[in-house]
Symmetry: D2
Subunit: 310 residues, 4 copies
């Protein structure tokens, strides 16, 4: 079903741009989408956690997807976050966005799941609810969702759900998990599962070397992610690490839960990608001190990567 | 704002009746509503957790509220559960149901809240988001939501949010919490807060004696709840306990998370209140053994309370 | 290894009696132990959570075990709670109490365990650490420990750890778990596992009917537990439920986390089993209102069970 | 009481060195202690979480403290981790180590605490239990302990407990928390509280600039921490960041929960500080791939910091 689908490179997690009064900023969506295309991303995920999905009304969500798809004109696979407390809302949003031309959806587990069976069961029921022909992405992010999936659980989901498309891997620690999944593929005990890494790319350097296919995250320099993934794939190890390490102080700063998204939007605003760094409530705002810290980090990155001159 | 509103007696938590194929069963909604009215409930809460709210699409939710309001014909205050992962969906549903004539809404805290300030902040932001003229109910259910509200936190919410209507108290243990809140009202350090108790009425007997105004829960014999509340208010202590204790084995059985709702619907079906005990997925089903256990409990209750002869 | 060991009847969870100043009350230990023997318990568990184990210094723990074993004179199997944040302390206490003549130990999982594998792994490592010849009890109490063990996980622990002695079953809901384990024994996919139930006996009535071998809990009337287990085993269903139901209002009251242990000690003091209802800090104390509620419940039970006349 | 005590610079979190068979390696303790002294640390914390404290028997814990104090000869304040599930064990270890000459103790909150009051209450009871003349350190590490302390809660603990010595700050995000506490000191609403930062120093660069007094963590290059703290205090901002950033890829790698301690010990072994990188069970081991990744990171750091040539 999803056998014709692959996933590699950088599927950027798109923030949702707002006007300063909280309305969705359509022209910033367009400009941001153009920027992503030019930066060389290979896919786009909208309405993820860091796309402030839970703050959007259903119609707004649909509107965002529509606009992004129109702007990319089919040049990029579009993944839409549809996580919801119940399958009815998940199904409803999925159908609407698939009708608009989305490629697939991303599903995070509810944070009450504990046992292995309950996690597998959840994904099976979700896939059945949204339609077993809809490609879906497993979001494995225990830091945020408090749900711990072993490699064996991921293998079970992938094996028992034909519509499973790829893994958004953001476990921490997570390097050995990638190695384990790849080892199972190698010895034939698991079919191929594309792995794109998240967690703000904090371990992108080594995750690529462990066998990841790319990134599925939203750092404020997605163009850096594109470069690191390309260099790593090309075997340019030192160069990949050099670029990554230059950004790491800011990657770390942006990875902070809460203020992180405010940092991301602030930098994207400074880069001219979006018009405002506004978050919808409830959302963090950066103090003047925090902004000055980010500016300082940008000035340091700029010594190595001219894109940080903003 | 909500100063004209009171809350006492039994605000029954209504389940959502489905046909065996999962569609909403409108005629069972009508029959159930009629039953509640006849049983003497003083209010109705729809689309709570045990109303399977998260399994409903937005339009279905609105439809249920519309039907219930039409059936009660304004004879009962209607509370609608509007808990959602974000304020946009919460606001959207609130506006729709208030337009239809709902009296107020119930809001449960997201299960990630920890500090006192974050809980108070959440309710203030929620009230602002849905409209500070919309009466809302605090749902204090740590067993399900993992959020622990001290009496002082509840007082702060009540003090800082003029639209705070009443407390759905279902902390466990919770007796001293009621006593503390009532003591604060008595010494003038808190304005009057109506308290209706939930947690499947497991402690209704003593909660009434500690100062609760009634129940806000959904046991399969809401008519028993009405009687116990009335007798307790009338000072008929032994009689209230006698009736309550006769039901306690089943109250306890129905309070089990997961199968509990299936028990409730099974008994309501056997009582002829709803047509089918179907739950929407994901939902528990009762084994033959479990049904036989419930039947046995009913036969034992029937020795004291003839309503259990079904 | 544990193949010669069985477990059935009532393994009472013993509280630790203190003087009013917090010192351990040796003569109350003796009197309580004599009471248990006379009541017909078939085993004793000391230093469980409700034995206030974490509040005891190592030497105090050893002293309690020594005294209890001396008093029972080998007439009862003695289980000692040895749960600890690390295996070193667990091993140290285990060796000391096994040397004194304890029969086995009880191990609760640390509340950080999530995946199936991590739970099984924990018990394997614990068993190895304390000595694979030391019979151990699995404590399955998700309400307190936040660790969820599926029946399959319990089967794995039992299968992979020869020293696994019995299951202290206190999952909630938990009836179907017992049925599942018994079904696996019946179809040969699992070797016999004795099951004693806890959770303050809240479901003892039906748990016995589902296949439990008895109780492993500490209600303030362990003599009632002995009777219910005996009657249930003898097929006297109605009589078992009649007695159980008479106590259920107090069972429920005592099951409250926090004040529950204070209730238990208060009643045991009123029954003359221990001299004082003192808990060590940090511990709940009963308000005058709470004590009056318990007294009222006792007076109601006394109408059916004369042992409650205190 | 603790008014004469200050805390600044680097209080290094010491790992516990083992022989390959798991026995405590005394000569490595000596060599490591000498190394710390030479590196310029201003204090030492032993038996923290990353000192594998829960894996130590009581006598082993006491032995380690004794050896470290003998080796430092009173030249350094010694903090001992005494966190325990109950106050009896905490008191017992505290008394033993204070008798040996420890300066104070560190206390982490149990991971079940939720409300503000319960956290403050816990520290008050702990301080009373161990003796209100024993200086104690608040460990604020929500990532590991799941306990969230607002700045106001920390202020309350510090205000209500005269023996409160300093804050081991490792909240994440945590920069604004430092700013808030310092602002309160400035406006007179809080007495001076020394703040040393942990969380593997992941934000040491900016935490110093926000007002921290130093570090209280255990990165495998404590000599780097000493330098960064010194340079930051001296206003050498760029130099401090240059050195910090050179190490950040490894700081991040070592901060992974689980394998992190294995990384730390592996590097300390390679640096000749301890003889073996053995952890006691249960503990992570590094795969060959992981070791190669660490080696690669060391080779990259060595281009800037010659101490990484190992």
């Amino acid at each position: 079903m999803t056998s014709h689908l692959d996933a590699k490179g950088v599927y950027v997690i798109a923030p949702t741009p707002f006007h300063t009064d909280g309305r969705i900023d359509d022209s910033s969506i367009d400009r941001m989408t153009d920027f992503f295309l030019k930066a060389g991303v290979t896919g786009m995920t909208v309405l993820g956690q860091l796309g402030e999905a839970p703050k959007m009304a259903h119609d707004e969500s649909v509107g965002i997807v529509k606009r992004v798809i129109a702007r990319t004109g089919g040049k990029l696979p579009i993944v839409v976050g549809v996580s919801a407390p119940g399958f009815a809302a998940m199904k409803s949003l999925t159908h609407d966005v698939m009708d608009l031309g989305a490629t697939g959806v991303m599903i995070a587990p509810p944070n009450t799941l504990r046992t292995d069976d309950s996690i597998v069961q959840y994904y099976k029921q979700a896939s059945e609810a949204i339609g077993s022909d809809v490609p879906f992405v497993i979001q494995d992010y225990p830091l945020t969702f408090s749900v711990q999936m072993t490699p064996a659980v991921i293998r079970r989901i992938h094996t028992e759900c034909p519509a499973c498309w790829f893994l958004k891997h953001e476990d921490w620690p997570g390097l050995d998990k990638i190695s384990q999944l790849r080892a199972w593929e190698k010895d034939g005990s698991m079919r191929r599962l594309p792995i794109l890494v998240g967690n703000n790319a904090l371990f992108l350097d080594f995750e690529m070397e462990r066998g990841a296919d790319g990134a599925n995250t939203g750092y404020c320099f997605p163009d850096m992610l594109v470069d690191v993934v390309r260099m790593s794939k090309a075997g340019q190890r030192d160069a990949a690490h050099d670029l990554f390490d230059a950004h790491l102080p800011l990657v770390r700063y942006e990875q902070q839960p809460g203020p992180g998204l405010a940092v991301r939007k602030y930098v994207m605003m400074r880069r001219g990608i979006i018009a405002s760094d506004t978050l919808r409530k409830p959302g963090a705002t950066l103090s003047a001190t925090a902004k000055a810290e980010v500016d300082y980090l940008l000035s340091r990155i700029a010594k190595v990567d001219p894109r940080a001159k903003v």
